[in-house]
């Protein structure tokens, strides 16, 4: 009986222990592309033929390098400031700049993982070459996989 109890103890205590950090500490901003055409109350998802993206001031470090058929993107927000800008290069070299304003928050995940930064999006602004409008779906950027911002694009010149 003692052995069974001890085994049970170990198991239960073990269930609480995680040796490896399984959660990501870098939380990404998730954005999807849409056209302003509304179907059943929501904008229609859109796939961009090709997309290149980099952070403002970092053209040497591409987040997306001429990626084909892009439906959505995952972007790193700068945790050391309250504003991050991204340059988006669409087909036929049409370029837009998107700025996101937010508050940052340090959150304790676990002893193994340590802390992660959560972002609370306050505002966004952009140039209007291809980007028509944006919608903030979810303000809080955490480890969940929700889409935070919908980017609505002007139709392709080919359409």
């Amino acid at each position: 009986m003692l052995l069974v109890l001890l085994a049970g103890l170990f198991c239960l205590a073990g269930c609480q222990n995680e040796e490896v950090c399984e959660e990501t500490t870098a939380n990404r901003l998730r954005m999807g592309f849409y056209t302003p055409v509304v179907t059943s109350g929501s904008p229609t998802p859109y796939t961009v033929d090709s997309l290149t993206m980099y952070g403002v001031g970092r053209p040497d470090s591409l987040i997306y390098n001429n990626r084909k058929s892009v439906r959505s993107v995952e972007l790193p927000l700068n945790p050391t400031t309250n504003r991050t800008g991204f340059v988006l290069i669409f087909p036929e070299n049409i370029t837009d700049t998107l700025w996101i304003d937010y508050q940052t928050e340090l959150n304790f995940i676990s002893a193994e993982c340590g802390f992660a930064v959560f972002f609370d999006i306050e505002q966004a602004s952009h140039t209007n070459n291809r980007i028509s409008f944006f919608q903030i779906n979810q303000n809080l950027v955490t480890n969940s996989l929700e889409e935070h911002i919908k980017i609505l694009l002007y139709p392709d010149s080919g359409l």
């Binding site: 109890l5 952070g55 790193p76 700068n78 340090l106 304790f108 992660a116």
Partner: protein, 221 residues
Amino acid sequence: MKNISKYFFILILAFSFTAKAQQEADTLVFRPSLSLGYDVSGLVLNLLEPEVFMHGASLGYEWRPNWIAALEVGSMNIGVERETHNYEARGVFLRAGVSYNLLQDNPRMQGEEIFLSFRYGFGSLSHEAPRITVDEPYWGSVEGSFERAGYSAHWAEIGGGLKARLFWHIYMGWDLRLRLMLARNPGSEMNPYYISGFGRNKGNSAVMLHYSVYYKFPFRK
């Protein structure tokens, strides 16, 4: 004169009979008992999580048959040191409630129990993270810290377990508890790793298996 002595005799006999009956009843009369326990589960947890230290002691007073008034106290000490962060916490807790012994049949079961426990718990701690580094591979790491701040919480518990006699006045037993958070009082934005007395701070409930060694104070004759 003869009548009086006869009546006297009968009276004495009557008294002696009732006295004997009283004595027999005395041996089956319930006596309150007090037991003092030490919670070993903290030591086991420390084997699996060397940075976490927990201690707990309990006092149980059986004031009426099968009802035990219980008090549990203890402390917690955490020191995490990693490349990315330092986290320190220390706290205390108090839990009070009753346990009900389901083994009712034989009062001479030598204090063995199968019980249900109900508790109200309160935990208070102070914690800090003096050094935090969050890696952001694209933009660069961010440094931060959380100053020492307090945190308290209270919760309700329900559980059950066994208590068996080892030898002499020493008993051992386990108690499986389900804890449900009632309210929290945070002193800062940082969420604690463990809440003293409650367990791991993951959501509003916790399950913990406690294992204790008890000393039962022999009752006075």
